[in-house]
């Protein structure tokens, strides 16, 4: 057997391991092993590739890989679970950048020797550089928004869509022009122009990544992170077309598809189209003035809340990003354990878009040692909401806003929510009556069966725990 054939076979093995790894990620029981299987696939792919290198520049190889490992490993070990969205966003960006550099390096190699580069490969280089570049800077913006380095609010300016449209046209024009240049038929000047075109595309892609991400508000970050996840896969896929390597194409496509599926789930959970998320600047100042619900919110103390919870036999906790921000998840788990000891049924109902990335709340509660059986989805709770004695809403707002069902003028209209307003009693833990992240007023706070428990979530829950222990 030729070495080429053996390598092809091993790349298939790696792809199969990726597929099985992803499949095992669909159950909490097998997920951890699934991740290991997928990592094994990566190891097979890397070792196989090492045997294909005709000349190994050890210094560069060890330097590059060593640097990556020295940065990546401690970051993964030390990152706080609340910061997971930023972390994943940043890693996405690095993946995109790596693919962009691979596309560039391949083109440079062929260009320097004035090799004939097929149209197929030129288009693949073009796509790798564009998708990779947009992924890189788009992820950096998402990272900065999530970590609070820049404002989480949508950045809007006059003529924004026109600027973006012009940029897009420039990308298409440069791209077509670049794809038409056959390096083996060019003289020196022509070669230089072709290379400049590619550099122009790199710059445009980097700018476009920034400009297309800044108008998106912090509440929409789950969608953006999913989309960038998809891009990072597609960039790797495009790089696979450049070097004609199936393992890159397969794994890139798997990740690309995965990101798209998640993007679609997130959009559905908000009842909005992807176009609406990307272009509308949702949550900008124009929306906050709408609404304005009148009425009296009934405020209670921790002691009153204790009496209500004490009498309950069926409790649903609805956590939102506010719980993570207040670092209240451990106190919440303690409270729910005290309730369970009394025989109360406690479940956590988690909305798909709660938190700053898909499934973020589940990770935070898992970190606080909440068993995954207790974590349920809205469709598990909504049909039997009338039987719930107390719904405790901790730092969640838009995902429980009944305006989504009642007010066709609300920006949230049509969004599937957790219908806590139908529970016997709602206790809302909140700092104040201010609107949530999306800047929309919440009529839930003024309903007859709602009690407001104002204050810092962690301090409030700790006070409740103290009441139970007395």
């Amino acid at each position: 057997m030729s070495p080429e054939l053996v390598r092809g076979f091993l790349y298939i093995v790696a792809s199969i391991l990726f597929v099985f790894g992803l499949k095992m990620l669909s159950s909490p029981v097998t997920a951890r092993r699934g991740n290991l299987v997928s990592a094994l696939g990566m190891l097979v792919a890397v070792v196989t590739t090492l045997t294909a290198m005709t000349e190994v520049r050890w210094v560069w190889l060890i330097g590059g890989a060593g640097l990556g490992a020295v940065v990546g490993a401690p970051a993964a070990r030390l990152v706080k679970m609340t910061s997971m969205p930023e972390m994943v966003g940043l890693f996405n960006g690095f993946g995109g950048l790596a693919s962009m550099l691979v596309g560039w390096a391949e083109y440079h190699g062929a260009w320097a020797h004035a090799d004939p580069i097929l149209l197929f490969t030129r288009v693949a280089v073009l796509l790798t550089v564009l998708i990779g570049g947009v992924t890189f800077t788009g992820s950096l913006v998402a990272y900065s928004k999530l970590s609070g380095t820049i404002t989480g609010k949508p950045v809007l300016y006059k003529g924004q869509n026109i600027v973006n449209a012009i940029l897009l046209l420039a990308v298409v024009a440069l791209g077509v022009f670049f794809a038409m240049q056959r390096p083996d038929q060019l003289d020196t000047a022509g070669l230089n122009i072709a290379y400049l075109l590619l550099m122009g595309l790199v710059v445009l892609a980097l700018i476009f990544g920034v400009l297309s991400t800044i108008p998106i508000g912090g509440a929409d970050m789950p969608v953006v992170i999913s989309l960038l996840n998809s891009y990072s896969g597609l960039a790797a896929c495009a790089a696979g077309f450049v070097i004609g390597n199936n393992v890159l194409i397969v794994s890139g496509a798997l990740v690309g598809a995965s990101g798209l599926v998640l993007t679609r789930i997130m959009c559905r959970a908000m009842n909005r189209s992807l176009a609406n998320v990307l272009f509308s600047g949702f949550g900008a100042a124009t929306f906050t003035k709408a609404g304005g619900y009148q009425g009296e919110a009934k405020s209670i103390s921790a002691e009153d809340a204790y009496l209500i919870l004490e009498a309950a036999s069926n409790v649903v906790v609805v956590p939102g990003y506010g719980m993570a921000a207040a670092q209240a998840q451990h106190a919440v788990r303690e409270l729910s354990e005290l309730l369970q000891e009394k025989g109360t049924d406690v479940r956590y109902c988690i909305h798909p878009v709660a938190g700053r990335m898909p499934g973020h709340m589940n990770v935070l509660l898992a970190e606080a040692n909440v068993p995954y059986e207790q974590l349920v989805e809205p469709q598990d709770v909504n049909p039997t909401m009338e039987t719930v004695d107390v719904a405790v809403i901790i730092g969640a707002n838009d995902v429980v806003n009944p305006a989504a069902k009642e007010d066709p003028n609300s920006p949230l209209w049509g969004m599937p929510i957790i219908e806590v307003d139908r529970a016997r009693t709602c206790i809302v833990l909140k700092r104040s009556l201010n609107p949530g992240f999306a800047g929309v007023d919440n009529p839930l706070f003024f309903k007859d069966n709602t009690r407001m428990l104002f204050g810092d979530a962690k301090a409030t829950i700790t006070a409740l725990v103290a009441e139970f222990k007395q």
């Binding site: 990620l25 991740n35 990566m42 550099l101 390096a105 960039a235 696979g240 890159l248 068993p371 995954y372």
Partner: protein, 104 residues
């Protein structure tokens, strides 16, 4: 790999099938595992490390290609190493009721 019309269409063929496979695989993942799924699939997108290694490994690669390849290698390694480790750390925390006993 020598590119001709057959190999080109085969690459596309593989791409399209893999996209469908990906959609089918991911649709079944429950929402509680979406974060680890995302960081785990993100680690897989670090497969571009293969491209970086190949760029470093041609005897014809000049200084620029070597430098670009090494940079790509560094970033892809961050993605791979960091992605798998952080996913493992997260999944370690997902515990069932039965296994939780004593450890609080």
């Amino acid at each position: 790999m020598e590119l001709n019309a057959t190999t080109m269409s085969l690459l596309f063929f593989v791409f399209v099938l893999a996209m469908f496979l990906g959609v089918e695989l991911i649709r079944k993942v429950p929402s509680q595992l979406h974060t680890p799924l995302m960081s785990g699939s993100n680690a897989i997108s670090g497969i571009t490390i293969v491209g970086a290694l190949l760029a470093l490994g041609h005897e014809t690669s000049g200084a620029v290609v070597t430098l670009l390849g090494a940079l790509a290698l560094a970033f892809a390694t961050i993605n791979v190493v960091g992605g798998y480790l952080v996913t493992d750390r997260m999944l370690e925390m997902f515990k069932s009721k039965d296994k939780q006993g004593g450890k609080k």
